[in-house]
Symmetry: D2
Amino acid sequence: MKNENQIVNSFQTVYRISYSDTDQMGFMHHSNYLKYYETARWELFRSIGIPYPEIENEGIILPVINASVKFIKPAYYDQEIMINTRIKSFKGARIVFEYQAINETKEIINEAQITVACVKKSTGKACFPAKRILDTLKELIDK
Amino acid sequence: MKNENQIVNSFQTVYRISYSDTDQMGFMHHSNYLKYYETARWELFRSIGIPYPEIENEGIILPVINASVKFIKPAYYDQEIMINTRIKSFKGARIVFEYQAINETKEIINEAQITVACVKKSTGKACFPAKRILDTLKELIDK
Amino acid sequence: MKNENQIVNSFQTVYRISYSDTDQMGFMHHSNYLKYYETARWELFRSIGIPYPEIENEGIILPVINASVKFIKPAYYDQEIMINTRIKSFKGARIVFEYQAINETKEIINEAQITVACVKKSTGKACFPAKRILDTLKELIDK
Amino acid sequence: MKNENQIVNSFQTVYRISYSDTDQMGFMHHSNYLKYYETARWELFRSIGIPYPEIENEGIILPVINASVKFIKPAYYDQEIMINTRIKSFKGARIVFEYQAINETKEIINEAQITVACVKKSTGKACFPAKRILDTLKELIDK
């Protein structure tokens, strides 16, 4: 069964909610989506040949500058949650990621849009990523 | 020195960034703003006579259903960050909180809007909070 | 290459260190070992046919009552860490787990012994787990 | 009312358990004690005139190399927990901290012994802290 509203051409990763992710409501604490989305975006980067540690080794960091998250249904301990990640746009020093979290019964439980900026670690100033990264990302967007 | 852009009539709390809040960028990890904002909103509730534990004891939970966060500048280990919290609106089962995080040199480093919903824990359905809470919140908004 | 000092007959799981696990030392923050060890022990339980959620559904919780952890070498972002988990002993309401964390170059970077107690959730008192669980654990220890 | 078993001559800090500290057992997740103890030891250091950020600025880090924690009673959301911290010993590059966590009804809910090592950040090797720090710590132990 394919959920009709799922992001197309997205990169998929699956995470099992751990006990320490939960809070006393019995839900995964809402702050943890940001952690899973972070892991998911660097897995997407790894999959296209740009491991994030290599970027940091070149003196660039990609901090989050904007996050908009819609919490639709709770995630529960021990559930396997599939995360769809897509690079929505890439302009100047900014990369916008689009996310969906899907539970085991194929319900979309969370949606997010997260923007990161390319920043030179030594100066804290926005910068362009290396040409190799630029080219890879452009190719991905254009597909 | 008062920052001109600070939210007026907000409730203020101060937190010191702890070591475990940081990541290897040397910044507070971005997910932690959601934790501090959560603590800040229940401190606001405590200050108006509605401690959050009492709400949960009455079988109501207030999960986050929407969060929009703008990360303007990093927060660093050991900094004291002031959080301005304001209830922006309150309609039906939804309460919208507005936040600003201010660093020690009075810069606004983060802004957010976070919506929580009143949910009956036993059913998972949206509900109205108790009249006492409704009245307190209305009074606060009308001020 | 097999490390000579590895625990024999242990259950093995592998986790990739995520960015949010790190702190500004550039290491995985030491508190996170307890989270990974927790996940590892319930994976061991799942592997022997006792999923932890089933235990909680029967009104039993297994909180940690003792943890002794030796931090030998740092774990770094993006490393795959193998965790060896073994049930060392099982007596009365207490289960003792023994752990080793092994990095990608087969070094033992962390060792721990963690004791959990069977507790009835409704009363908070120590209790014996269900006979089915007792029998499974005894069989595992006796091997 | 003074608990007879409290550590004497200890440094005291108080923390309120936040919602994100809890797990679905309804307790503070056990990993969080390590975070509060970390914050408490650097508050102790601040109180004796050695702010931890200054140590890191001199190229020294103090990672945890050993932690032994006894979880006696749960900590709950919104409780104010007092942490008693004492430097138990200081030898070579190692500093041993002793902890107690005390709840609002003066019960000791957690005890720990945590050892940190002085490590030169650039080399990863154990080192002696600056003479100023050595002298301050010796004076504190001898009291």
